[in-house]
């Protein structure tokens, strides 16, 4: 099989084709190339099982986890969009996690309060997010606003997971810190469509928008 990879180092960008054996996944192909053909190829991975979120890349124009994407002849592999490239398929996520930190997604549970079973179920779904950044890279609005006006589907989905818990003493603070960062969403739903974990960031954005429009006392 032949696959094409976008390479980037020392300011030079170019596509390079590689011949690889019939392997199961894109990640296996990348590992094969690094260990047998070209040791300079840079990409990240860790768990190989779709739970750590380290191996997000763009495969034939869609952001995917390399570990769980089947390999096909003629595939084109590139770094995910929306981030500075450090080297080859590795992007710089420092800015993203810096904003994540500054937003202050805190939790402190007041255990005297109880939690509704239905809410628990909702939290469980949003808790599956692994911050692999596929939604961020798939989002047109993110690319335009570069996190400045729009906090990104990932941060909003994580914020929503913590906000949903009515026992969280930081609920109000979370709402306060995201309130100017959700409005820009134009609901292309690329985040929800591409999420490898079945999370729906667009739903979190919709709910936050409606809460912010009709503020009820928490």
């Amino acid at each position: 099989m032949r696959i094409k990879i976008l390479r980037f180092s020392d300011g030079k960008k170019f596509y390079k084709e590689y011949e690889v054996p019939n392997l199961r996944t894109v990640l296996e192909a990348l590992i094969y190339i690094r260990e047998n053909i070209d040791p300079t190829l840079a990409f990240n991975y860790s768990c190989r099982s779709g739970i750590c979120g380290a191996c997000a890349v763009k495969i034939d124009d869609n952001a995917r986890l390399a570990c769980k994407t089947g390999l096909r002849d003629g595939m084109k592999i590139e770094p995910i969009d929306g981030f500075k490239i450090v080297k080859d398929l590795i992007i710089d996520d420092d800015e993203f996690f810096d904003i994540y930190r500054k937003i202050g997604l805190y939790t402190e549970i007041n255990d005297k309060k109880s939690i509704d079973r239905e809410i628990k179920r909702k939290i469980n779904v949003f808790d599956r997010c692994i911050l692999c950044l596929i939604c961020v890279s798939s989002c047109n609005v993110c690319r335009e606003y570069c996190f400045e006006g729009f906090l990104s589907p990932a941060i909003i989905a994580r914020a929503y997971r913590l906000f949903l818990d009515e026992r969280n003493v930081f609920r109000e603070k979370i709402l306060e810190s995201i309130k100017n960062g959700v409005d820009a969403c134009r609901f292309y739903y690329a985040c929800t469509r591409n999420c490898p974990r079945g999370v729906a960031p667009s739903k979190a954005i919709k709910e936050f928008k409606s809460i912010l429009k009709n503020p009820k006392p928490l």
């Binding site: 996690f97 997604l105 628990k120």
Partner: protein, 519 residues
């Protein structure tokens, strides 16, 4: 007071939260903390009000090799660790489950992605408390000057710079060394490099022969299928559709029986078709995405895979190593709570309970002045070492690693004997010789060939220690099974401790601390 934490998994993050109460904390991680091996923990975390039963099960499951003072501390503090996670937002399932070897259902879980849920909560807590988290830092050496540690030297892979990280106290929380083996459930980053560096710097290693294999990983993939599906009723069957082992036995027993079945030419499957799988959405996802099967309708092809490094950097119950200012916690360390066989659900408990203890103990370290000259000296040495690697011509490091992984799986795996071990030792020595000529292309930015050459040195040396320790233990106990000595021997109720003496290893024996359950 500066505390440096190396590793961003559950143990490292928990330690950072505690240390941040009193010290300025920097946590360095070779990959973003959320991508750590801990994120892969599925089944859950053990904790019980009836801590004595938990402790007894741990000791019996570990075939009496656990240091019981450490077990007591772990089990007594387990429930408060779980409560603390709940305060930080982790929502455990209402019911509890259990792992093999536990008499009661004392395992708290979040579906079958407990580690992922916990690590996100801890990461948020660490950020809240102002822990400085630096990703993409590969620690190359510890700044140890004879007796004391003053921090570390690391490669910033993003910027391609070699930096010093000064500290009054340094905590290693870098995980296990599963990648020494061909088939492993461990993340790619778990090569044990810091365990080797600690040893080289003078820290002792303990119980290195105890390498745990998980009975049920997806065949050819080394992806974990949690043991709790078995305690919930899953069957293990062979290609003749026959059950051949009591599925509820501990990991060591089940792994051996499956391995024997595979050696005799039959395939082995996990059968979960009759279970609801309500609490196992990840298992369904893993089977669908990676094995392309529906576990509700089809059998899951499995094989045992290396899973957990029981041995590691020797510490006391305050997580102190024998080097002043140097601590170790989590899978890289060896207290030893798990004895000769770790029970499922106890590793998260260990990481959280002792993560807190390590963070606190490190802060109580008398803040001696940091000797910056030691750090600078180490940095210069490291730069020279890397320059040397660039000068070498051979480009065979990935091949050597693969050979090592095969040798270890074949000859130092689930069933061992003197001949195989001696053969492995010979092979490792040859590979070490080959590795001396291994080089890498130039460049410090995300140069994975360079990383592999560096890590390979550690992997080969740890492999040698594992084999020497396995040769020395002429008995079978827990995960260490010698077919030439198939019985447990009371006279071997001892830990084996390795101490680095330049080119030689000094091996000491130490009695197991028995304070609770007699043999």
């Amino acid at each position: 007071m500066k505390v440096l934490i190396i590793g961003g998994g559950i143990a490292g993050l928990r330690a950072s939260i505690e240390a941040s109460k009193k010290a300025e904390v920097t946590l360095v991680s070779r990959i973003h903390p959320l991508r750590s091996g801990s994120s892969m923990a599925q089944g859950g975390i053990n904790a019980s009000k009836d801590w004595k039963t938990h402790a007894e099960d741990t000791i019996v499951g570990g075939r009496f090799l656990s240091d019981q003072d450490a077990v007591k501390i772990m089990c007594k503090n387990a429930l408060s660790s779980v409560k603390e996670l709940e305060r930080w937002g982790v929502i455990f399932s209402e019911e509890k489950r259990k792992f093999a070897g536990l008499r009661e259902k004392i395992t708290y879980f979040v579906d079958d992605r407990t580690g992922s849920s916990i690590i996100h909560a801890l990461y948020n807590q660490a950020l809240k408390r102002g822990v400085k988290i630096l990703s993409n830092i590969f620690i190359l050496d510890l700044a140890v000057d004879g007796k004391r540690c003053y921090g570390a030297v690391g490669l910033d892979m993003k910027n391609g710079e070699i930096k010093v990280f000064p500290a009054n106290a340094t905590i290693i929380a870098s995980g296990g060394f599963g990648r020494i083996y061909k088939t492993t459930t461990n993340a790619d980053i778990n090569t044990g490099y810091l365990t080797y560096i600690a040893y080289k710097s003078g820290a002792e290693l303990k119980d290195m022969e105890f390498v745990q294999f998980h009975p049920t990983s997806l065949k050819d993939l080394g992806i974990l299928i949690t043991e709790t599906v078995r305690t919930e009723g899953a069957y293990i069957i062979n290609s003749l559709s026959k059950r051949f082992v009591d599925e509820k036995m501990p990991r060591d027993v089940v792994s051996r029986e499956i391995f024997r079945e595979i050696l005799s030419g039959r395939e082995v499957f996990l059968d979960v078709r009759h279970l609801s799988l309500k609490n196992f959405p990840e298992i369904r996802r893993i089977c669908r995405d990676f094995a392309k099967i529906d576990p509700k309708k089809e059998l899951i092809p499995i094989e045992p895979a290396q899973h957990y490094s029981i041995g590691g950097i020797r510490t006391d119950t305050l997580c102190r190593t024998n080097i002043e200012g140097l601590y170790a916690v989590g899978e890289c360390s060896c207290l030893n709570v798990h004895g000769a066989n770790r029970l499922g659900g106890n590793s998260l408990t260990e990481c959280l309970v002792f993560g807190r203890i390590a963070g606190e103990a490190a802060c109580n370290e008398a803040p001696t002045d940091i000797d910056y000259s030691t750090l600078e000296e180490k940095r210069d040495k490291t730069i020279n070492k890397i320059e040397n690697i660039f000068e070498k011509n051979e480009r065979n490091s990935f091949k050597i690693r693969k050979k090592l992984q095969e040798v270890m799986f074949r000859n130092v795996g689930i069933i061992r004997n003197e001949n195989d071990l001696k053969k492995a030792l010979k092979d490792i020595k040859l590979l070490k010789e080959e590795q001396r000529y291994s080089g890498a292309h130039r460049g410090l930015k995300f140069n994975f060939e360079l990383l592999n050459v560096i890590e390979l040195e550690g992997m080969l040396n740890l492999a040698e220690i594992i084999v020497l320790s396995a040769l020395k233990r002429k008995e079978s106990r827990g995960v260490h099974y010698r077919e030439d000595f198939p019985e447990e021997k009371d006279s071997m109720l001892k830990h084996l401790i390795f101490e680095n003496r330049g080119e030689r290893h000094r091996i000491k024996e130490e009695d197991v601390k028995i304070t609770m359950v007699e043999l």
